[in-house]
Subunit: 277 residues, 2 copies
DNA sequence: GTGCGATTAGAATATTCATTCCATTTGTTA
DNA sequence: TAACAAATGGAATGAATATTCTAATCGCAC
């Protein structure tokens, strides 16, 4: 048995659970994972409720509390409740303090200030995204993808993360995807099999990656229906595209968070899946 | 008796109490004042406790709940508890409610609605990110990266886009980066040269990619200073890490937008660059 | 002051709850 | 394979809880 856990903060409890996790038995590990993921449920629920939601018998919950050094579930629950209580009142205070420290950060150079700057920027880019994308374009895009045999993804350089993410999601949804990444040589060869039966999603922002600009018109000329995600109507992947999503105000390459295009491709993929039923 | 108060928000309840205050009897007015002043006590206490603290008999508390149209104290307490839940996770409740209401409706299946849903979710994940990441962790992370000769990036499966993005930004800033992608065979070989002079950034979310879970402890054991970005303290890349960024409430793999981790790695990279001057 | 309706307090009750206990299963060592 | 220890699930138990009921009290009109 462990030492008594008299008064413990929620964060301390989290640490203690994480530390002992591997030493716990199977059932108890399962409970540990649940309570870390659903602290609110533990704070407000009864033993029976927590047990049901985590898929274990009630007695296991009590044993878990014992294993952590508590006298019982009720005692452990107090710690989870303290988190809720702390969340209401001092949040204002904490938020204000955080704001102040950020303002004071002389140059805005401290990592924390940098983060909040990117968060703020990402927020506004999301707002811009939802305003600039219209239902008609999304419908057209999902229609193209729905008819495609294979979906080719072209996004190199700074856009590569967006392409890989779209590839991942589409594959999870059971679509056939060819990610043009140039591994092992030419992306020309990777895209050689693309036809009008397939579809292409091209993603490119300034400065437009040369290979993208070169390959895109080839595929378009071969009759592959194309969806483009870019930051300007003058970009090299606009001409010939069936659908163009223009995401404006993309910061310079090293500073862009890719938040907006990530969201957009996600919505395209899920929208495609939901519409397919 | 008053009309039934089915589902009521805390603010609505406050308004209702204030409005009826003068129409209530003496004892009930006393209780009304107490509950408005001590909503947390009502949310977490028992009837007996609330009764004692407000200086009335328990039955009066129940009568008060009845007078407000609730079936009993327990029912009224739910409203006070909702306030606590809302306080700790500002957007969580709204997100769930929204998801549920939209999921069934025909509108929710249209691509445009899907997009706005993801945008909303991304927004809330950004708020959660800026609240959960502390300056101390960011400082420690940038310090590790600043001292590193080579920076190794480990992020496979669904986390791969995050790793590629971080690789891109760091390289733009002139850092030496090794992206462990397993191309052409074993990632073991790719990471073979890593030593204590280098650094590792590991990114992994549920379900944790097996190769990540396997490689991570090896690198840690070899003394490579490590920064982990994950969604639970129980994830396989937590133990042994110098710095852990925990990003909570990550949706299931196919639905996550990766917005929060993308922002975080961006801030790490830029913060590193600014601090290096 | 008297009578009547509304209000109240406290005891009684029925329910819900956390906890404990034990038989069974699971995993391990010999 | 056998024997043992650890862990587990579910029923039993006793405590705690919300609610109801009833007798007493209060406020008020007459």
């Amino acid at each position: 048995m462990n030492k008594a856990q008299g008064a413990m903060s929620y964060d301390e409890l989290r640490g203690a659970i994480a530390q002992r996790h591997r030493a716990l038995s199977g059932r108890l590990q399962q409970i540990a994972e649940f309570v870390l993921d659903h602290p609110t449920d533990v704070a407000l629920g009864t033993v029976a409720e927590v047990a049901q939601r985590s898929g274990v018998p009630p007695s296991a919950i009590v044993r878990f509390a014992h294993a952590l050094g508590f006298g019982g579930f009720t005692e452990m629950q107090q710690v989870f409740r303290s988190r809720l209580v702390a969340g209401v009142a001092p949040s204002y205070k904490a938020r204000l303090a955080r704001m102040k420290s950020e303002e004071k950060s002389v140059l805005g150079r401290q990592p924390a200030a940098v983060l909040s700057r990117f968060v703020a920027e990402a927020q506004s880019s999301l707002v811009a995204l939802s305003q600039s994308v219209h239902a008609r374009e999304l419908d057209a895009a999902t229609a193209i993808l729905a008819k495609a045999r294979d979906i080719y993804l072209l996004g190199l350089g700074g856009s590569f993360p967006v392409a890989t993410h779209l590839a991942y999601v589409l594959r999870k949804l059971g679509r056939r995807v060819v990610l043009l990444d140039g591994t092992g040589g030419s992306i020309h060869e990777q895209s050689h099999a693309a036809t009008g039966e397939d579809a292409l999603v091209a993603i490119s922002f300034r400065n437009y990656y040369p290979d993208t600009a070169r390959l895109f018109p080839e595929l378009v000329a071969r009759g592959v229906p194309t969806i483009s995600i870019t930051d300007s109507l003058l970009s090299p992947i606009v001409e010939g595209a069936r659908v163009v999503f223009e995401i404006q105000d993309m910061p310079e390459p090293a500073l862009r968070t890719l938040v907006a295009p990530m969201c957009l491709v996600q919505a395209m993929a899920i929208g495609l899946d939901l519409a397919a039923d």
